[in-house]
Symmetry: C2
Subunit: 209 residues, 2 copies
């Protein structure tokens, strides 16, 4: 798991001057180091992070309001950046987004560290809320935006609530990646889910072969 380059690629606004960016990276890598050393989230104080990164506590507080916000930034930087959306159709964009969910699932499964990070995050309501607000909600907004575009251009039935459509399309993959650790995540799963769901969600169904 590396923080290299993924930070700006994931759309996080760059704060301050380039030099400040290096300091930020050192702080975030300090957090990663502590996590890799097995320090539980509950013992991850700003003071300890500052000591590990070789900066003062004030330097951290100038950039993050607390360890929760910093931690979420670290997790977000470690996640793969948002996918390039082909933009050729709603269907192709949905496949790209679902494929991203699938890859994130595979990554979490293969990394004991990430696995532990997510588990700890869920057991802290404040951090979970921060992660939701800064990562999960924007992701959902983008999904729904693409679905709405599909409704507008006739790829998607317009008579279904967009939140329900979102759950019908993304629910199956979320259940596999987040709730069923033993479930298969084979290549092609994203396409298969989108196509199987769409055959019912399209306004006009193709005639049987």
């Amino acid at each position: 798991m590396s923080l290299a380059d993924s930070r700006t690629a994931s759309g996080t606004p760059v704060r301050g001057r380039p030099r400040s960016e290096a300091v930020e990276r050192a702080i975030m890598e300090g957090v990663m180091k502590l996590l890799e050393d097995g320090v539980p989230l509950a013992e991850l104080s700003v003071e300890r992070i500052a000591r590990t990164a070789g900066v003062g506590k004030a330097t951290i507080y100038r950039r993050w309001s607390g360890k929760e916000e910093l931690f979420v930034d670290v997790v977000r930087a470690a996640e793969p950046p948002g996918p390039e959306l082909p933009g050729t159709s709603m269907r192709d964009d949905l496949v790209a987004l679902l494929e991203q969910h699938r890859r994130r699932g595979l990554m979490t499964r293969s990394s004991a560290l990430l696995h532990s990070v997510y588990a700890q995050m869920k057991s802290s309501p404040r951090i979970w809320a921060a992660y939701h607000a800064t990562v999960v909600e924007p992701r959902r907004r983008l999904q729904k935006e693409i679905l709405r575009r599909g409704q507008a251009n006739g790829e998607l039935r317009a008579d279904i609530d967009i939140d329900l459509v979102n759950d019908l399309v993304f629910g199956p993959m979320l259940v596999r990646t987040l709730m069923r650790p033993d479930a298969d995540l084979p290549e092609g799963l994203a396409e298969e889910i989108v196509d199987k769901v769409l055959e019912g969600l399209r306004p006009v169904s193709p005639p049987p072969a």
Copy 2:
């Protein structure tokens, strides 16, 4: 939350003589009482349960191998019993099963106790595994049995992997009930999910209206 009658209705095998059943109920109600009093799962020892229920520790160990197994039995007894399946069609049976998921979701949301019980269960890998093996897996097996019957009688396309079908049908509801505590669980949701998914999963789609 009451244990009354739901125990045999949920299919738990009755152990021993009727008198033994009363003892069992007293023990399980002892666990409920401790949970209602806010005792965390980690402090719920067999000794403390025995004291609360007014029985000896040996009486508990004769029936359960440990507090994990006992705890899962308590949770299972507190959950609503499995639904009556109409058996008129795969579609109707799926609606009944999804409606059960919806009701369990509403119940968990409205009960701070149940909410806390599930959260604590998830943070104990041994209890979570026991709950999965005795509650979640049998539920999945029943779902897949009904889907297979649908494939056999032509209600469901036979060219999709049954596990994927299961996730397509149940995933959207599971995401709403378990992962999105703020999501709507309106009446009629079960039917809407089944019908919207089926319009794509049926071998022959109806012509557009």
